[in-house]
Structure formats: C-alpha cells, structure tokens
C-alpha cells in the first residue's frame, strides 16, 4: 500500500515537472527577438520577393503569433496535452507526425544504450573494486578517464574516421542508402546492426565511464563494512557472499543513477545523432533551433524531457521495490 502511494506521489510529481518543462521550453523558444515569420520575410526579401504588410499581419494572426506570450503558451499547452503539437514551419508538416516518425529510432538507441551501459559498467565496476589496484582496475580507471574527457562529437568523428580509413566505408545514419525505402528483411536487419555499434559507443562512452566509477567507489565502500566480514565469518563462499551482500547494496546507487543517467544519455544521443546523421529527435531539435522553428523545437524539448521524466519515474519505482529501506520507510 505504501508502495502504491509512493508511486502515485512520484507520478503526480512527474506531471508537475512536465508542466514546468513545458513552460521553460516555450519560454526559450519565444525569447529570441522576432519569430519565424520575420526570418521568413527576410529570406523572401533576399530572394527579391516581398509580402505586403496586410498579408503579413494576416499570416501572423493565423499562426497566433500576435497574441501575448501567456495566451500563446496556454493555447499551445492545451493542444499539446491533446496530442496536437502544432505545425512545423520548416517541414510544413504536423510536429507530431515528424516526431513520431523519429521516436522509434530514438527509443531504440536510448534503451539499447542504457542496457549496454549497465551490462558493461556493473561487471567492470565489480571487478575493479574487488581487485583494487590491479592491472584490470588500472585499465578500468584509464577507460573511465578517457570516457570522461573525450567529448562525444569528437569520439563520433574519430570513430567515423577509423571506419572510413580502416574499412573504407562511410558510416552515417542507421542504414545504408540502398535499404532506405525497402521493407524489413534479413539483409536490412544485418545492415542496421552494422550501423549500430558506432552510435552506441558514442552515446554510452561517458555514461559507462561515470557508472564504472560509481560502481567501483560504492562497492569499495560496501566491501569495508562489517556485514561483509560477518558473511565471511559465516563460511560463505567468497564469490557468493560478495554477490549476495555488498554488490546487492551497491546496486542501489546504480539503480537511482537512472535519474542522472537519462538526461546524460539524451544529451549524448543528441550529439551523436547530429554528427553521425541519425534519424532521431536530437538533430531535429538542432535544425529546429537553427531555423527558429518554434513549435518543432518546443515539441522536441518536451518529448526529450518527457522521456527523461518517465525514465526517472521508472528508476524511482524500481528502487522503491528493491530497497526495503525505502519500501518499508
């Protein structure tokens, strides 16, 4: 029952956060002087065409750009809740359609990355902590530093360069051009799998490095605790007692790390996608920002934040289920 209440509380909290994020998103989009139409006008004028003032006003009115900020925000938010995110000026298409088109790839990359991060960092972190100051620990620390210090876009560039130099293939996007419009097939799936590693490496690098450090430090902390000695004195096998007690306790910060890992993941994903030209939401946001396409940009920011909030919610709930100290208060 307590757990249920906790979940309800976290969910209503998530909704509140979303409200704030929506306001922030809209505010940011509105801040630059001028709007899409003024830059559109400027472009038209450059190419020698012009629109008279009256049709300009009409156009502005039809987009609702002549209303005060809060009214615009309110209308936008109400529509957003109903699933209508407005129209993209750049693509002359509904924002919802454009985003939905790219959502599967975004989700696929993010979830795969999250799994990869956990699958790699937890065993390495455990190894590094159990064999403190060994060669393996040193290598893990080295990898950790590299992951922390090399910016994602640079890693993407370097990996692309290596692929280009070493294998003579240019690896951009998530599939080769010849498969673009073909239906799903084995060949397409294999081609897709070939394109996956570089984006995944770029996205997971810094998160993995950070998580290895966290796992190692937490486990080292736990290994020094009395209950580990107790378990050892009980005659348990070393590997069993370590997996049962300290690793289990060290998992908590890892589970709650979902909270900071997800924003980090979407950040990395955005960078990787821009440099590698992946069909995800990140580059869409990038293009929308550069083109002052406000509804599209706001929509992208909202979706990325929404995914983050949902992820945090899930990690909070998992933590509550796994940790008796939280579950039972």
């Amino acid at each position: 029952m307590k757990l249920f209440q906790y979940i309800i509380r976290r969910m209503s909290w998530g909704a509140l956060v979303l409200l704030f994020v929506s306001f922030f998103s809209f505010l940011v989009i509105q801040l630059p002087p001028g709007d899409y139409l003024t830059s559109y006008m400027a472009r038209l004028e450059k190419s020698g065409m012009s629109i008279d003032n009256a049709s300009m006003v009409a156009l502005r009115h039809s987009y609702g750009l002549d209303q005060p900020f809060l009214v615009q925000y309110g209308k936008w938010f109400c529509r957003f809740i109903q699933g209508d995110m407005g129209v993209s000026f750049l693509y002359t298409e509904k924002v919802k359609v454009i985003i939905l088109e790219r959502l599967p790839a975004t989700l696929l990359l993010s979830i795969t990355s999250l799994l990869v991060i956990y699958l790699i960092s937890i065993p390495i972190g455990i190894y590094a902590a159990r064999r403190q100051y060994s060669v393996g620990d040193f290598l893990a620390a080295f990898f950790g530093f590299i992951g922390m210090a090399v910016p994602g876009f640079l890693l993407a560039l370097i990996l692309m360069w290596i692929a280009y130099q070493g294998f003579g293939v240019s690896i951009g996007g998530l599939q080769s051009p010849q498969f673009m419009d073909q239906p799903m097939s084995w060949a397409k799936a294999i081609d897709f799998m070939k394109h996956l590693p570089i984006p995944i490496i770029v996205i997971t690098m810094s998160g993995t490095a950070a998580l290895i450090r966290t796992m190692r430090a937490t486990l080292l902390d736990e290994l020094g605790k009395q209950y580990v000695t107790t378990a050892r004195a009980k005659g348990l096998r070393e590997s069993k007692l370590i997996n049962k007690y300290p690793v289990r306790a060290a998992m908590n910060p890892i589970i709650s790390s979902g909270g900071w890992l997800l924003p980090e993941l979407f950040s990395g994903e955005t960078i990787a996608a821009i440099v590698l030209g992946l069909p995800t939401i990140g580059p869409l946001l990038y293009r929308a920002l550069l083109g002052e396409d406000m509804y599209l940009a706001a929509g992208c920011l909202m979706i990325l934040s929404l995914l983050t909030i949902i992820g945090m919610l899930i990690s909070d709930i998992i933590l509550a289920i796994t940790d008796p100290r939280i579950r039972l208060g």
């Binding site: 009395q226 209950y227 107790t230 004195a233 009980k234 005659g235 049962k244 289990r248 306790a249 100290r325």
Partner: protein, 339 residues
C-alpha cells in the same frame, strides 16, 4: 595439544598489517589456551590487538597477515587442525567457520546486511552448514531467536535490520551465532554499543548457553566489570601482547602487572570514600602504532618502570604459579639480557 580439555591452543601468534606508512604488528606473540566449556575474557585498550586476535581464529584477519605462530583447533569433525596453515578462502576453513567457531561482532548496527531479512540471513548458515531445507531452517531460526529472548521471533524473521533496535539486532546476531551450536563462540565486545540493561540480559543469555551446552566462549571487552561477571579466566593485552593471564578471582584480588593494576585502579569503587581525591588515571596514551617503544612496551606509562631494564629488554610471559602468568620484569627472577 597439551591437556585433555583444550579445544583451542594459540602459540606465539603474530599478525601484521601492511600499511603505506609501514608495517604494523597488531598481534605480537600471543599465546593462550581455551578449554571446553570455559569462558576466557580478553581485556585491553583499543588497539591492543584483541579484536585482530579473535578474527585470526576465524582466519578473517585480512588485510592482516599471520607472520608466525600456531593456532591448533580440536575440531569435532576434522580432528586436530592447524588453522594458521589454511587457505583463508578454502573449503576446510569455511566448514569450520560458524559451524564450529562462530563470532558475535561489536557493531549491531552494521553487522547484518541491510538488504536481506533476518530470516534470510539466519537460515543461510543453517542451510549451508546443517544442510537443512528452507522450511526446517526457518523453524530452527525462529527457535534460535526465541532461545535468546527475542520477542515475537516469527515477525522478526520477516523484518529487515533497519526495522528493529540495536539491542534486538544484537540479540538476532547472537541467535545467528548460536544457531549451528558452535564449539567456540567468540564475542567481540558484543555489548559495547548497548545500554546497561540490555547488556545484562545479553550476558545472561551467553552465560546460560555456556552452562547448558558447554560452549566455550572467548569474551573480548574493554570493560573489566563485564569480564568479571562472565569469565573464568582473564587475559590482559597491551599493544599486541598478553601482559597477564590469570583466573578471574585472582586477577581482581591480586593483580600483578602494573598495567592491570592501573586498569583496576581507574575503575571507581562503590565502597571507597574519595573525599575529593581524584580517581587514578593511567597516564599517557597508546603509542604510535608505527613506532613502538623499545623494551617493555608499557614502560613509558609504567609507574614502576626500572631504569636500565624496562626500556632495554622486553619481558617474556612467565608462569608465576600453576595457572597464572605475567610478562613483567618485576616478577622475573633473573633478568636474562639475551632475550
């Protein structure tokens, strides 16, 4: 092993820790015997090596290392075994741990894993050592909890460590330690973190267990009063060495070593009139562990230190009667400068 009744014999045990600042010999030549059904009290300040000695008996002294000495244990299932030779993660020592030698730790707050129920953690040893199935183990765990006076053991079995008080947790610890009916129970300051009434109850549980099941207990404490209550013999330690070993009544009635005397004097006595005079306090503090004094390690703080002797040669532990020994130059008949 000398003596029929000896269960455990420790000979000249030395345990050292490799620290960055240098080696620290935490246990520096400790010898004692533990007899079946007896309680041996070990007394000393923090850092005297009493806890490390105890852990070494279970071979969980890491990161310390045994540098020399013997630990002979009369195991009911394996015969006489030399614990010091065993691989600390090996099959043999693991079968001795908890089944034959169990230990109660000092900190009730942290000696249970936080993520598992008491039921899980107690039945674990029963399943491991007594090869019970889950249901039987649970039943036995409940019985064990009840036998140490735990209220509502059926409920406690489903609870997590953070849900019950420190005193109850220590009770659960004792229940876990006694669940497999060990030959030897090591109690490492089991009541230090508890209030006085809980302490008395827990001492009673231990004493009763010793009476009814003839369990040998190694009781470690820095509290002389507690030791006086429970122990048959007392061993006083200072800086990794045994300075005095005597039957409990003799130790309290006629202490020999100046350190023991000082310890006893620092306890306020209920029948003495102090008239504003101060309680005698042991002067000085335990020396830097990396830099032990030469000669008798106690001489810088000793009121009876003899110039030219005590700071030069280290006294050896010598029998002064049938059942007591002391390591002090005051009781050495002839001073042997070679040693």
């Amino acid at each position: 092993m000398t003596g029929e009744n000896n269960l455990l014999e420790v000979k000249d045990l030395k345990v050292a820790f490799n620290m960055r600042q240098g080696d620290v010999t935490a246990v520096n030549g400790v010898s004692f015997q533990l007899q079946r059904g007896k309680v041996l009290g070990v007394v000393g300040e923090s850092g005297s090596g009493k806890s490390v000695s105890a852990r070494t008996l279970l071979r969980i002294e890491a990161p310390g290392k045994i540098t020399s000495g013997e630990i002979n244990f009369c195991s009911p299932r394996h015969g006489e075994v030399a614990l010091q030779k065993m691989n600390t993660t090996g099959e043999l020592i693991r079968s001795i741990r908890w089944k034959e030698i169990a230990m109660i730790f000092q900190e009730p707050m942290t000696s249970f894993g936080p993520m598992h129920t008491f039921g899980n953690q107690i039945t674990e040893v029963l399943i491991l050592h007594d090869k019970l199935n889950k249901a039987d183990a649970l039943q036995k765990a409940i019985e064990s909890l009840r036998s140490v006076g735990m209220p509502r053991p059926e409920k406690v079995i489903t609870q997590y460590p953070h849900q019950i008080s420190g005193g109850q947790r220590q009770r659960a610890m004792i229940a876990m330690a006694l669940a497999c009916n060990p030959e030897i129970l090591i109690a490492d300051e089991p009541t230090t973190a508890l209030d006085v009434s809980t302490e008395a109850q827990i001492l009673e549980v231990l004493a009763e267990r010793q009476r009814t099941l003839n369990t040998s207990i190694l009781y470690i404490s820095h509290n002389l009063g507690v030791v006086a209550n429970i122990a048959d013999e007392v061993m006083v330690m200072y800086l990794g060495k045994v300075v005095e070993h005597a039957p409990v009544s003799e130790l309290f009635s006629s202490p020999k070593h100046p350190y023991t005397i000082a310890l006893l004097n620092s306890i306020p006595k209920i029948d003495k009139v102090y008239n504003g005079q101060r309680l005698e306090v042991l002067t000085g503090c335990i020396p830097d562990p990396y830099n032990h004094p030469a000669g008798c390690k106690f001489h810088p703080r000793c009121p009876k230190a003899m110039k030219g002797i005590c700071e030069q040669t280290e006294p050896i532990q010598q029998a002064i009667s049938d059942n007591r020994s002391v390591a002090c130059h005051l009781y050495t008949s002839s001073i042997n400068t070679n040693r």
